[in-house]
């Protein structure tokens, strides 16, 4: 891996364009946002960097704190549900016959080929009070109601006098359904990768030695795949925390998350310094989470080395 020293020119030829790209289109804009976050609006269009901390102080205003809190709990809950759904899917793929694996993986990745905006609009169609999901619920309700009537319990109206559609849109539930739907593949893939790598003989040994299926899962499989779970949590939670389109469309302006506030600062609010401070704050939170995750991964590696 030291070959770049021997072949410095070739290294430079490969490295320079990507480095220049990174500087020009990532570090420079980021630096500008960083500067803006210490600025004040001088006129409608001019920002003067005065090194004020006011924009950061405003992060502590109760409405910002509560919107941030909403983003966090929505994302934590959605991440948890994502992992619970993703784990069995990943297990099925990992244990499938080799000729099936690429097809199963394809099914997981397939939705990515459609634009996020279109997928979210499709969800609008499904989750509306007159949407497909409520059609299904209505059908189930009629079946249940019919069954009750057949049993002679029709007069009790156990399921309500008539079907009342469930409201998903404009509610946290609808936003969570959207978040889980969109980020599920991000959770499946790393868990699948860790299960695929796993040495099956541990499981066989555990079962041979008399451990139950559940105990084998809890004490062998889960710890051995915890790296994948960690990664899955981080790469679903972070984009969820900063998601904008899903709360915007599925939340119908009633379930705004922090990114919706950021967007407004750059548009109708026309307060770029505050918007910059908000987005940098989100970036810092992301950094801290990544640091915690790599710390956890490091500790686990050390534990594994100590073990064997």
């Amino acid at each position: 891996m030291e070959s770049y020293r021997r072949n410095f020119r070739a290294f430079l030829a490969f490295f320079t364009p990507s480095f220049a790209w990174l500087v020009l289109f990532f570090f420079v804009p980021l630096a500008i946002i960083w500067l803006y976050s210490f600025g004040e609006n001088e006129t409608i269009t001019k920002i003067r960097v005065t090194w004020t901390l006011d924009n950061y102080r405003r992060l502590l205003e109760p409405e910002i704190v509560s919107l941030f809190w909403r983003s966090v709990w929505l994302s934590v809950l959605s991440t948890a549900i994502c992992i619970v759904i993703a784990y069995p899917i990943a297990m099925v793929i990992a244990t499938a016959k080799p000729k099936w694996k690429p097809w199963l993986l394809l099914v997981i990745i397939l939705p990515f080929w459609t634009n996020l905006l279109i997928r979210t609009y499709a969800l609008l169609n499904i989750l509306g009070t007159r949407g497909r999901l409520n059609d299904l619920l209505h059908w189930l309700w009629s079946m249940g109601d019919g069954a009750l009537a057949a049993l002679g319990l029709g007069d009790l109206q156990l399921l309500g006098e008539r079907f009342v559609p469930v409201k998903f849109l404009g509610e946290p539930a609808g936003v969570m359904i959207g978040l889980i739907y969109v980020y599920l593949p991000f959770a499946v893939l790393p868990i699948y990768a860790s299960l695929e790598r796993l040495d099956r003989s541990y499981l066989e040994a555990s079962l041979d030695l008399g451990a139950s299926q559940w105990r084998t899962f809890r004490q062998i499989l889960l710890p051995l795949s915890s790296g994948g779970i960690n990664t899955a949590m981080v790469i679903t939670f972070i984009p969820m925390l900063g998601s904008f389109l899903i709360p915007d469309l599925l939340g119908r302006g009633q379930v705004d998350m922090i990114a919706n506030v950021i967007e407004r600062q750059f548009k109708s609010g026309n307060d770029w310094p505050f918007g910059s401070a908000l987005s940098l704050f989100l970036l810092y939170v992301t950094f801290i989470l990544l640091a915690l995750q790599s710390f956890a991964a490091m500790r686990q590696r050390r534990r594994e080395e100590a073990r064997g």
Binding site: T43, T45, E63, L169, R264, K267, D271
Partner: protein, 356 residues
């Protein structure tokens, strides 16, 4: 304050997509004069053949590009004009842009067709003497509603802002300024009276109503209405007109307290590469026949008197496009309140969004 119509309407969406990808070209010979005009406009906001006709008439090519909101337009021009010759901001953004020195003064001598304009539009508060802008279309914000689902005509903002009569069937706009202004209207205040007490009172009113509101619809109130998700929607008149084309059961009313009166203007941003061509384009759009064909397609109210004379009663007597004098008198034009007030409104809006 016309708004994004790009959202859902299938028919229009396809037209828009086609227009967005289109650069109108003419044979090489016709190119001698004028070059290209870069026109930055709202979606579905120009007659079907207007741009082609312009190129045929003047030899100037049109590079047509679309924006979806005033904020998008403003954000794009804020740090310098990226090359547009002609833009279409709404009245309060015109004020902002004049204050920020983003617009080029017009040369009225090169716009002889200004004579076609209704004199009532020649000296508005947002651009005295029409130094920077020419009116393009105007309209109102009112209530779109489903006739079969409401009692009579819901002709008051109270149904949206303070009553529980239609709880869970209401959509308000997704934009803080207009939502607050219509609350002020209901309180009997001017929509431009942004005193702290007024902002606080409006905030309180909307917060108390929040539970009963189904959606703060960013750009799709008419779609919610069409889909039956809501029965009353605060909306721009043109959007409801579109919904009415698709569904007979939908209608529009400007509440008795009055609504918002908006106007979209043609303007030339500073740094425009071809201001001569832009002037020619504006003058062309002011031509009676061109403006009439344009209005007949766009179906918003034109300020062009000569054009209206060419159009039939179906357009001129349409109450959605042209509200009665009584109603119009109670409507108000929004003035740009300055950055400080904007920040206060935005903070109040964030509090409303954070609640519940």
């Amino acid at each position: 304050m016309r708004k994004n119509r790009l959202s859902i309407n299938r028919r229009r969406l396809l037209q828009g997509a086609a227009a967005a990808g289109l650069v109108f070209t003419t044979p090489k010979g016709a190119r001698a004069k004028g070059g290209t005009v870069n026109f930055y406009n709202w979606d579905t906001y120009i007659g079907e053949t207007t741009l082609e006709d312009f190129t045929k008439a003047t030899g100037i090519e049109v590079n047509y590009d679309l924006f979806a909101s005033n904020d998008e337009l403003f954000a794009k021009l804020r740090n310098g004009n990226p090359g547009y010759d002609l833009i279409v901001p709404s009245n309060d953004y015109v004020e902002r842009m004049i204050e920020a020195d983003m617009l080029m003064p017009l040369d009225h001598a090169r716009l002889p067709n200004m004579k076609n304009l209704d004199p009532a539009f020649l000296d508005p508060a947002h651009d005295p003497g029409r130094r920077y802008t020419i009116p393009y279309f105007w309209g109102t914000v009112g209530i779109g509603y489903r006739k079969s689902a409401v009692d009579g005509v819901p002709d008051s903002w109270a149904y949206l802002y303070s009553s529980d009569k239609y709880a869970g069937r209401i959509a308000l706009l997704g934009e803080a300024g207009t939502v607050f202004q219509m609350a002020l209207k209901l309180m009997g205040k001017s929509i431009n009276d942004w005193s702290d007490e007024n902002i606080a009172a409006a905030e309180k009113m909307i917060l108390a109503q929040k539970e009963r509101i189904t959606a703060f619809a960013p750009d799709n109130g008419q779609d919610l209405l069409l889909a039956g998700e809501v029965d009353l929607a605060q909306e721009w008149n043109g959007d409801i007109q579109q919904a009415m084309d698709e569904d007979d059961d939908i209608s529009y009313v400007v509440p008795k307290e009055g609504g918002l009166l908006w106007e979209d203007d043609l303007a030339i941003p500073k740094g425009a590469p071809n201001p001569d061509g832009a002037h020619e384009m504006i003058n062309f759009l002011l031509d009676a026949e061109v403006a009439a064909a344009n209005a007949d397609y766009v179906y918003y109210a034109t300020p062009n008197k000569a054009a209206r004379a060419l159009l039939g009663p179906e357009y001129n007597e349409n109450p959605v496009i042209f509200p009665s004098e009584d109603v119009l008198r109670k409507c108000e034009v929004s003035l740009y309140p300055g950055q400080e007030v904007m920040s206060k409104i935005d903070a109040a809006w964030t509090r409303i969004k954070a609640a519940g």
